[in-house]
C-alpha cells in the first residue's frame, strides 16, 4: 500500500470501506503532514483536535455500519472564506480578527454531514481578492512546486492555501471558492484539479461574500473523480440562498464513463491572446489532439466579446465587493480601532483592517457605482456581461464543451507582478469569462512549463452540465497522464 497521504479521495473511501485503515489513522498521518508542512503557510487556522474528534466519530459510525455519506472519514481542508461554527474565520483579513462564527456555512455543513474531517482553514488572498495568495494578512503561501533558482513560487489565488495543501499531500481535497478563477488558477499553478460548478449549484450561505453574482464554491482535488465525489457532497439547493438553484443534483461520479466519442469540443479563437507563450500554445494544441484521438470532434468557435471580459469583471466584482464589505465597520465584530468620532472610527478601522488590494477594489467599486459614473461603468458592464453570456450560449449550440488554457503562464515568484495590478489581473484572463457567464469549468493538470512548473487545461460546459464536464475532464486527465509530483514532496531528499 502506498503512503496514506498519497491516496486519492476515491482510494481512501475504498480503503476505509474495506477496513484497511481507520479514519483516525488516515487523519493522523494527515495531521503529521500538516505539522510538517507549516513552512508552506497553507493554513490560517489548524483544527487538529477537532479533526481527531471527527475522525473518531466517523470510525464509530462506520463500526455501526452507518457511514454518514460519500466522504465519511476523509480529511480535507476548508478555505478560510467559509464560516465554521466555533472556529476562527478570517477570510485572511485583519478586519475579521477574532471572529468566531456561531454558525456553519451550508457548504462546510454539507461536507460535515457527508462525514468529512476538517483539518483546518486554509490561507487565501484577503477576501478572495488576488491571484497569488500574496494579499493575505497571514502572509504569502508557498507553492509546493519550485525549481532550483532559490525563489519561492506563488500558489496562485485566491484559494492558494487550498491548492497548496492538496498538492503537497497535506489534505486529500480542499473546499475553495471561485469568483473569477480563484479555484482554477491556483489549482493550475499547483498541478491539481480545480473545479467551479455552475453558479447556484453550491449555496453561498455562510460564505464570506466577495462578489455575490460571481462567488461559487467548488472542490480542489488530485483527480477529476475526486472533484466529482467532493462536489457531490458540497452541492444542493439551499432555501437560505435565493440564488441557489433548484436543479436536481445528478450523480457526478457516474458521469465519468470514459466515453467522449462524437462530443464536439469548441476551441475559441479569441483565447489566442497576444503574447501567449509557445509552451501554453503547445499544451493547448496537444490537448486538442488528445481529445480528437479519443473520438471527440474539435471545432473552432467564436467568443467575440472575450476581450471585454476582464474589464467587465473588474467593474462588476469591485462594485459588489464595495457594498458587500461595508458591513466590516468595527461596530459589531472583528477589528475595531477606536477614535474620537464615529467617522474616524470607521476610517481607522477600515483603513487598518483592510489590505491595499481590498482597499483598491472598494475604491474602484464605489467609484463605478457613484452618481454620474454608474451608467458609464456599471450599466455598461452589465450589458457586456449579457453579451459574454450570449457568446457562450451561441457556442454551445454547436459544441458540448470548450477547451482553453487555464492560465496564460505558470506560477511566478513571490513578489513578482506586484507593481502593476493589471499584470496581476491578467492571471485570470481565461477563467473570468466563464465566471461572468456562471458556467461550470474545471482545470486539469496537463504538463510542465519549460521551467518545470505545472500548467493546466481548462474545460467549460453549459449551465448545469457538470456531467459532461467531468466526463471530458476525466478522459483528458487519463490521456495526459500527469504524474509528476511537486518538488516539495521530495524535500526529504533536498
Amino acid at each position: 500500500m502506498s503512503k496514506l497521504t498519497d491516496l486519492t479521495i476515491a482510494e481512501a473511501r475504498d480503503g476505509l470501506g474495506d477496513g484497511k485503515f481507520s479514519s483516525v489513522e488516515l487523519t493522523d498521518v494527515h495531521i503529521k503532514a500538516v505539522e510538517a508542512a507549516r513552512d508552506l503557510n497553507a493554513f490560517v487556522t489548524e483544527t487538529l483536535d477537532l479533526a481527531i474528534e471527527r475522525a473518531k466519530a466517523s470510525d464509530e459510525r462506520r463500526a455501526k455500519g452507518k457511514p454518514a455519506g460519500g466522504m465519511d472519514g476523509i480529511p480535507i481542508a476548508v478555505k478560510d472564506l467559509f464560516c465554521t461554527e466555533g472556529v476562527l474565520t478570517t477570510a485572511s483579513s485583519h478586519i475579521l480578527d477574532g471572529f468566531i462564527p456561531p454558525y456553519e456555512s451550508t457548504v462546510s455543513q454539507n461536507l460535515r454531514d457527508a462525514g468529512s474531517v476538517m483539518l483546518g482553514k486554509t490561507n487565501m488572498d484577503e477576501f478572495a481578492m488576488g491571484s497569488a495568495n500574496v494579499t493575505s494578512f497571514y502572509g504569502a503561501v508557498k507553492n509546493p512546486w519550485y525549481v532550483n533558482d532559490g525563489k519561492d513560487r506563488v500558489p496562485g489565488g485566491s484559494s492558494g492555501g487550498s491548492a497548496a495543501a492538496v498538492a503537497a499531500n497535506i489534505s486529500l481535497g480542499a473546499a475553495g471558492s471561485d469568483t473569477g478563477g480563484s479555484i482554477r488558477q491556483p489549482a493550475s499553478f499547483c498541478g491539481v484539479v480545480g473545479m467551479k460548478p455552475t453558479y447556484g449549484r453550491c449555496s453561498r450561505w455562510g460564505m464570506v461574500a466577495f462578489a455575490s453574482s460571481l462567488d461559487q464554491a467548488g472542490p480542489l482535488t488530485r483527480t477529476v473523480r475526486d472533484a466529482a465525489i467532493m462536489l457531490q457532497a458540497m452541492a444542493g439547493h439551499d432555501s437560505k440562498d435565493s440564488t441557489s438553484s433548484t436543479e436536481p443534483v445528478p450523480n457526478f461520479e457516474a458521469s465519468i464513463t470514459g466515453e467522449i466519442k462524437g462530443l464536439k469540443i469548441g476551441i475559441p479563437s479569441e483565447y489566442r491572446i497576444d503574447g501567449m507563450s509557445s509552451e501554453i500554445e503547445g499544451l493547448w494544441s496537444q490537448g486538442v489532439e488528445m481529445l480528437k484521438d479519443a473520438g471527440a470532434e474539435p471545432l473552432e468557435v467564436s467568443l467575440p466579446h472575450t476581450k471585454y471580459a476582464l474589464p467587465t469583471y473588474y467593474i462588476v466584482a469591485p462594485a459588489e465587493a464595495s457594498s458587500n464589505l461595508a458591513r466590516y465597520d468595527g461596530v459589531r465584530y472583528g477589528l475595531r480601532v477606536d477614535a474620537e468620532t464615529l467617522d474616524e472610527m470607521y476610517e481607522t478601522t477600515r483603513g487598518e483592517g483592510f489590505g491595499q488590494e481590498v482597499r483598491r477594489r472598494i475604491m474602484i467599486g464605489a467609484y463605478v457605482l457613484s452618481a454620474g459614473y454608474y451608467d458609464a461603468y456599471y450599466v455598461k458592464a452589465q450589458k457586456l456581461r449579457t453579451l459574454i453570456l450570449k457568446d457562450f450560449s451561441d457556442a454551445f449550440k454547436k459544441v458540448d464543451a470548450i477547451l482553453t488554457p487555464t492560465t496564460p503562464f505558470a506560477a511566478f515568484a513571490i513578489g513578482e507582478k506586484m507593481d502593476d495590478p493589471v499584470q496581476m489581473y491578467i492571471n485570470d484572463v481565461f477563467t473570468v469569462p466563464s465566471s461572468l457567464a456562471g458556467l461550470p469549468a474545471i482545470t486539469v493538470p496537463a504538463g510542465l512549463s519549460n521551467e518545470g512548473l505545472p500548467l493546466g487545461l481548462h474545460l467549460i460546459t453549459k449551465p448545469f452540465d457538470e456531467e459532461t464536464l467531468f466526463c471530458v475532464a476525466d478522459v483528458l486527465e487519463k490521456l495526459v497522464s500527469f504524474h509528476t509530483k511537486p518538488s516539495y514532496l521530495s524535500k526529504d531528499a533536498r
Binding site: C83, L96, W205, M207, K240, S322, V331, Y378
Partner: protein, 484 residues
C-alpha cells in the same frame, strides 16, 4: 377655501408632497424569520441576517410582497409585475449591512390615487409610487454619557414607502391625506397605522410659490414626523419660513430639516451638499420579483370594502348624511361598530347615538372604539328601546350614562330603575288633571291666548311622572284639557 399665506408682496401657495413609511403587518421581517413585535427587549428579535453577519443572505418574505400588492390595489394603483430590490449604500451604526435593501428604479407599485373629502369638495391626490424596503435599527443615545447603544430589533422590518405627488396644498389637506391613507392600510390589514409606535412615519416635502404661479420651487424635506398634528404644524411653520426667506430677498435651499415639536419649528439637518451618494445597484443576493397577473387578480378578489365604497353604501343603504357617513367610515372599527348597531334598526338614530353620544364619551375618557365601555350589541338594544317607545330620548340619555358607568344592558337598567315610559292614557290623564287643577292662574293665561305656557305645563307633568310620561301623549292631553 384655498389656503394662502399672505405675504407683504403677494399671496403664496404651499406645495406639499408626503413620503409615508408604513410598517407592513407581518409576523416576520422582510428578509429574515425574526419576529417583529413592538416593545420587545432590545436585540431580542435579531437574526444573523439582521445583524449583518459575514456570509448571511436575505431571503424575501413572500407575505410582505402580498401585503404590498394589496396596498397598491387599495390605492387604485398600477401593480408592476416586475420589480427589483436594490442596495442603498451608506454607513451608519444601526445599519448593520452598510446598505439598506430597497426598491429604486423598479418599485412594486406605480401611480395611484387617494381621494380626500374636504369641506369644499373631493380632492384627488396622486400617489407616485409604493416600494418595499427594510427598516434600520435604532441608535439609543440617552443610556450612557459617552456611548451610543444599538437596538437591532427593527433592523430588517418590512416597510412600504408610499410617495405622493406634490398635489397637496394646505396643512389640512396633508392631514386629511394621512388620515385617509391610514384608514386605507388599516382596512386592508397591511399596516396598523400606529404613529406613536412608529408603524407610520412621515416625511414632508414643502415648497411655496406665488399664488399666481405654476412653478415648482426648491423644496425642503422635513424628516420623520411622528404624528398627524405635527405634520400639519411642521408644514405650516416651514411654509411661513420659506415665504419669509423669499420676501426678505433670500432663496430657499434644498435641504433636509427636522421638526422640533417642543419649539414648534423646523431646523436644518443637512444641506444638499452633504447629501449621500447612495450608489444604488440591484442587490445580487436577490432575484427580481416577477408576479403573474393571476396572482394580482387573486389578491384583488379578496380585497375588503374600502372607505370610499363603504361611505357610498352607508348613505344609500342606511340613509345617513354624507358627513355622518364620512365620520363613520374613517376608521374600520367605527364602521363595523356602527353597522352592528344599525343593522335592522333605525339607522339614522343609530348613527346619531354612535357619533354624538358614544364619541362624546370616548373622547372624554380618551379611549378608542375598540375599548368602548359599551359594546355595539347593547347600544343597539338602547336604540330599540327608543324606537319602540319603551323609553323617551330624554330617559335614554340617563340610561346611556348608567351603561357607561356600569356596563349593564339598557333593558335591565330600565327595569331596575322603573324608567319605562308611561303610555297608559289614564295614568297620564290623572297627572294632567292634577297639574291643571293646581295651577288655575296658568290655565287662565292660556285661555287668554298665551300659547307659551303649554311648555311649562308639559314640564310640570313630566316632573310629576319622573320624566317617564310619553311626551307626545302629554302634549295632546294637555291641549285637549286646557282648551276645556
Amino acid at each position: 377655501m384655498t389656503y394662502l399665506i399672505q405675504g407683504r408682496t403677494n399671496d403664496w401657495e404651499v406645495v406639499i408632497g408626503l413620503e409615508v413609511h408604513a410598517q407592513i403587518i407581518s409576523d416576520a421581517k422582510l428578509f429574515s424569520g425574526a419576529a417583529t413585535s413592538f416593545g420587545a427587549e432590545p436585540n431580542s428579535q435579531v437574526s444573523l441576517v439582521d445583524a449583518g453577519m459575514p456570509g448571511m443572505l436575505p431571503v424575501i418574505n413572500e407575505f410582505c410582497i402580498q401585503q404590498a400588492v394589496r396596498t397598491g390595489l387599495g390605492l387604485d394603483a398600477k401593480i408592476n409585475l416586475h420589480s427589483v430590490f436594490e442596495r442603498k449604500n451608506y454607513f451608519y451604526p444601526d445599519l448593520p449591512q452598510g446598505y439598506q435593501i430597497s426598491q429604486y428604479l423598479h418599485p412594486i407599485v406605480g401611480e395611484g390615487t387617494v381621494r380626500l373629502d374636504m369641506p369644499d369638495g373631493t380632492r384627488e391626490i396622486g400617489v407616485e409610487r409604493l416600494h418595499m424596503e427594510q427598516d434600520a435599527g435604532k441608535s439609543i443615545h440617552d443610556q450612557d454619557p459617552n456611548r451610543t447603544f444599538i437596538d437591532l430589533n427593527r433592523s430588517g422590518v418590512a416597510l412600504m414607502e408610499i410617495v405622493s405627488k406634490p398635489d397637496l396644498r394646505s396643512p389640512e389637506e396633508a392631514g386629511a391625506y394621512l388620515r385617509k391613507l391610514r384608514a386605507i392600510v388599516q382596512y386592508l390589514g397591511t399596516c396598523d397605522g400606529n404613529m406613536e409606535q412608529g408603524s407610520l412615519r412621515c416625511d414632508a416635502n414643502v415648497s411655496v410659490r406665488p399664488s399666481d404661479s405654476d412653478e415648482l420651487r426648491t423644496r425642503a424635506e422635513i424628516k420623520n414626523i411622528n404624528s398627524i398634528r405635527f405634520v400639519m404644524q411642521a408644514i405650516e411653520y416651514e411654509a411661513e419660513r420659506q415665504v419669509d426667506v423669499y420676501e426678505t430677498g433670500g432663496s430657499v435651499v434644498q435641504e433636509t430639516r427636522l421638526y422640533d415639536s417642543d419649539r414648534g419649528e423646523t431646523r436644518s439637518m443637512r444641506s444638499k451638499e452633504d447629501a449621500h451618494d447612495y450608489r444604488y445597484f440591484p442587490d445580487p443576493d436577490l432575484l427580481p420579483i416577477d408576479l403573474t397577473p393571476e396572482y394580482v387578480e387573486e389578491i384583488e378578489k379578496n380585497l375588503p370594502e374600502l372607505p370610499d365604497a363603504k361611505k357610498v353604501r352607508f348613505i344609500s343603504e342606511y340613509g345617513v348624511t354624507e358627513s355622518d357617513a364620512g365620520i363613520l367610515v374613517a376608521e374600520q372599527e367605527t364602521a363595523n361598530y356602527f353597522e352592528e348597531v344599525a343593522l335592522g334598526r333605525d339607522a339614522k338614530l343609530a348613527a346619531n347615538w354612535v357619533i354624538h353620544e358614544l364619541f362624546g364619551v370616548l373622547n372624554k375618557v380618551g379611549k378608542g372604539i375598540s375599548d368602548s365601555p359599551i359594546v355595539a350589541d347593547k347600544l343597539g338594544n338602547l336604540v330599540d328601546l327608543i324606537s319602540n317607545n319603551v323609553i323617551s330620548s330624554r330617559i335614554a340619555k340617563d340610561v346611556f350614562e348608567e351603561m357607561v358607568a356600569k356596563g349593564k344592558d339598557p333593558g335591565v337598567i330600565v327595569e331596575e330603575k322603573g324608567l319605562k315610559q308611561i303610555t297608559d292614557a289614564g295614568e297620564i290623564e290623572i297627572a294632567v288633571n292634577n297639574v291643571i287643577a293646581d295651577n288655575a292662574d296658568q290655565v287662565k293665561k292660556f285661555r287668554e291666548g298665551n300659547q307659551k305656557v303649554v311648555g311649562w305645563f308639559v314640564g310640570q307633568v313630566m316632573k310629576k311622572t319622573q320624566g317617564k310620561a310619553n311626551p307626545q301623549m302629554v302634549n295632546e292631553l294637555l291641549l285637549e284639557k286646557l282648551k276645556g
